[in-house]
Symmetry: C2
Subunit: 551 residues, 2 copies
């Protein structure tokens, strides 16, 4: 256990191989420790009795302290320094394979990021997060933004402070350079800075290597297509019948069906669990211990099923991680956006399409075979498909359909970026939020509870996180497209419930690749030979809903 | 977080109060960390998917390393050293209250014990335990003692080694002195050593402050009375009807009934959980997060109910710990024997007696009201009492009734003590075991699987543990007797289901006392004004079963 080895005097500085082995031991211990924290989080959301909340907070705080100590340990620092030196004098590529080199790269990056921030700032961030989340919960309950505003103000300030420690870093300077296409698309002149760089740093906390300039172009494209698409759908004033989705759906039967589908898609219940929690998530300690949750609603089975498929997609990524580099950084998921691509690929590309329901609908009908479900029994595949793919602009992001969802994200992106770059003030948030909701979705927000107070993210300092949801959906389309090219008759396989064909392809091309690439964009380029862009995503989205709504 | 403070240079050595406060912070962090390990153990036994076993072992190993580091930390050492110095020059009793002084005493003792063993020995013990438990499981499966024997040999050797590091300690030298009564009872002459002292050390790992010489006297008394009692019961060749206990008992209904009883006795489900596991236990992280388990058998409801009541007794001790000294050693349970006294008090003193079933039997009948349970419906309280208190000598300790159980324990005590003191060799174990089973219970052991291979304890180095089961039952009788003296009409309360009266008394007199006393014997003496002895226990046991079996 190198977590026990506190002194760099204990290091043996011989061959590159020996250095790498010592680094591995340390990184594995650290990864094991991080897994414990995630397990405690799962327990907190699913099993923990109410009165244990304070002791759980203490446990997480002690673990955070120990983890931080291992992350910034002098032993780790010495090893990394030694590698930096040898980079100049030795050909590391001869001694180490690309996975091993990636481990060194990722460990170096993580160590630098952890040691960049003064410990006082780390502690201040933790304290602010706990306070802000309480204020936010109260503000949301009372739909009173003024109660949350001072804390959002502090979050912006502290995040800018943290970002400014990183902002001088070469990697970020590089990411801030805007390429020609982006400049043109944004109408910027040569040399003109379109933003001040804080947001780039925050974004990269969640989406490694992704340039905000590229994000801006993507989101501009999306707005250009999706706002008119939604307006057209609204103008139709038409919805397909979905009465057969509503009703009285026995929870236990829903659990059985969701569990069945999750296992058929490939969730290994000997290496994970599916439980219930208020806010569904996929987590757990390790690829052999993936803990995911879902939730069921008695009067509508769609949420239970699609939610379970979504979390199963996340869980397959975790269970499919590279076993050869177990507990090492290269085996970890690449970014939040790529993680989301795996959940959305199964939820939307598979679970919201006809091949999947060709297989699953008869099983769903068999599961709910009683006379009280006659509506469902008589629904055709076409009717079912149309009902599941309803577009319905609403206030709440987590309830949004796949057409309106990106606008919820873009709205948040625009506001949070303007906040951290100092272009708007916190007091402006509700007004701007509501104006954008009107512009993008045609809705009048009447209460901040349903508007800018709905998400927990800003309260816990997750600024730069929202874009990964929509990046995930763009990644998902391009990845699924590559799968269709690579797997003959993929849709026939899905229609027969032969999900392993797709899963194995994802295992090999996404899951086992882990963090070998330096960004989601690189992964997509390596996989598809094309850069990430919005064209395929927008074409498929537009075509699909033009058919469904007969536009 | 002092777990982060590695250097004693960071200590502020001013007042006793300030030293104490610094000690508290360190001890609390350590306690929080230890709670995490217990939570992972619970998860392993109840929730963990099968393939996660290897990563869980790694998690526990990393936590063990971090815990060990905190236990032997130089900061802790400096604080303890400082208190040792001030003991001589300052009147600590003026500055600190008895609970605070107990925290210092317990922390000092734990620190000394942890630092006494060389780290190589600690690691060798951990390695041996993992290997031995695998060998034991295989040996038991094949009922082949020879496969386990080499590992038991190694366990004896390593435990003697560990004990010899402690054996020079003053506290143990004191404990090895045999008092006059013990000498007389054992027929020892003045100056004659009856054993070599290793066992005393091992016993005190589980039962703080208890003298093995006293144990020897107690167990000699028990044998003198219980062996003939069992022989008389066997000679009767009679059993009360228990057909109404057997049958087909819906597991879900058993769960409901056990949960109900557990809550009525006082288990706070907002500060704990009741789940199912193969081997029932009570554990968890903290008094606000107690995790207990039980198991149910479809064709006999007795085990589910009594098992749940037993674990509830343990859990009430945990939930009832002193809140004012939360996460500090004085709030911890005093010893394994006292812990077992709390489970056995509720299981036997309450749950195997008429007042409890006067209340509970009508509820049990209501819970199993179907026509398939006519036998139960027509059972009288007397019949039910007789059936629940059946004496049936068998091979397996964990299935034993309250009369035969102590002999299972004494048999193991005699063998394990002879082993560590070098009086017998490992090869002799099966022969001696079987001879004692014949002598004590009149049974012929045909397979080591049902004999000396049945328990995991020796495989994991738990030598000195078994006696605490029977000490628990002796403590329980004296504690319950004190409760009856203190609470007017206690049995009437129990017959009305008013369990809080007893629970509150136990909270105040046992649970909140924690480790304020230095031993179970001291606690009993302080509580009852009488020393611990076997007389009341044996009288009640003999009287009860003489009535039941009409001896």
């Amino acid at each position: 256990m190198t977590i026990l080895a506190k002194s760099s005097a204990e290091l043996s500085l011989e061959s590159v191989r020996s250095l790498y082995d010592q680094l591995s031991v340390h990184l594995k211990d650290l990864s094991v420790l991080q897994g414990i924290t995630r397990l405690l989080f799962w327990d907190q959301e699913t099993m923990m009795p109410a009165k244990a909340a304070p002791i759980r907070a203490q446990q997480l705080s002690v673990l955070a302290g120990l983890t931080h100590e291992a992350e910034i340990s002098p032993v780790l620092g010495s090893l990394i320094e030694e590698f930096e030196k040898r980079k100049l004098t030795e050909d590391l590529h001869k001694e180490l394979n690309p996975y091993e080199l990636a481990n060194i790269r990722l460990a170096t990056k993580a160590y630098k990021e952890k040691t960049l921030l003064p410990i006082e700032l780390v502690k201040a961030i933790a304290t602010l997060n706990s306070e802000a989340v309480i204020a936010w919960a109260e503000a949301r309950k009372e739909s009173d933004f003024s109660k949350f505003a001072p804390f959002l103000e502090k979050q912006i300030k502290i995040l800018r402070q943290a970002a400014s420690h990183k902002i001088q870093d070469r990697a970020y300077a590089e990411a801030r350079k805007i390429n020609k296409k982006a400049r043109a698309s944004l109408g910027l002149k040569e040399g003109e800075e379109c933003y001040k760089g804080y947001y780039q740093v925050l974004l990269n906390t969640y989406e490694a290597g992704f340039k905000d300039a590229h994000l801006q172009v993507l989101f501009a494209d999306l707005k250009k297509s999706i706002i008119p698409l939604i307006a057209k759908i609204k103008a139709k004033e038409f919805h397909h019948d979905r009465s057969f989705i509503q009703g009285d759906w026995d929870i236990q039967k829903q659990v059985e069906f969701s569990t069945r589908i999750s296992k058929e898609i490939g969730f290994d219940t000997e290496a994970g669990r599916l439980d219930v929690s208020t806010h569904p998530f996929s987590g757990g300690a390790h690829p052999t211990d993936v803990r995911m949750t879902t939730r069921y609603i008695i009067d509508n089975f769609q949420e239970g099923i699609t939610g379970t498929i979504h979390e199963t997609g996340h869980s397959l990524y975790e269970q499919g991680r590279n076993k050869e580099y177990d507990n090492l950084p290269v085996s970890q998921s690449l970014s939040l956006g790529i993680h989301e691509s795996q959940s959305l690929l199964w939820e939307r590309m598979v679970g919201l399409n006809k091949p999947f329901w060709t297989y699953a609908l008869p099983h769903l009908k068999a599961q709910f075979s009683g006379s009280s479900h006659e509506n469902l029994q008589s629904a055709s595949l076409e009717q079912f498909y149309n009902a599941f793919n309803r577009v319905d602009p609403g206030f709440i992001r987590v309830e949004a359909d796949e057409v309106t969802y990106p606008l919820h994200v873009i709205l948040r992106y625009e506001i949070e970026k303007a906040l951290v770059e100092g272009d708007i003030s916190v007091a402006d948030v509700p007004r701007i939020w509501n104006a954008k909701m009107k512009e993008y979705l045609g809705l009048d927000v009447t209460e901040d509870r349903l508007g800018c107070l709905q998400d927990i993210h800003w309260a816990i300092g997750y600024i730069g996180y929202f874009p990964t949801y929509t990046l995930g959906s763009i990644y998902a389309v391009q990845i699924f497209d590559a799968a269709k090219e690579a797997i003959p008759n993929l849709e026939d396989h899905l229609a027969k419930g032969e999900f392993h064909v797709l899963r194995h392809w994802l295992n090999k091309n996404i899951h086992e690749q882990g963090s070998l690439s330096e960004s989601g964009e690189d992964l997509i380029y390596n996989l598809t030979g094309r850069p990430l862009d919005s064209s395929l995503y927008l074409r498929e989205l537009t075509d699909k809903y033009a058919r469904i709504y007969d536009l």
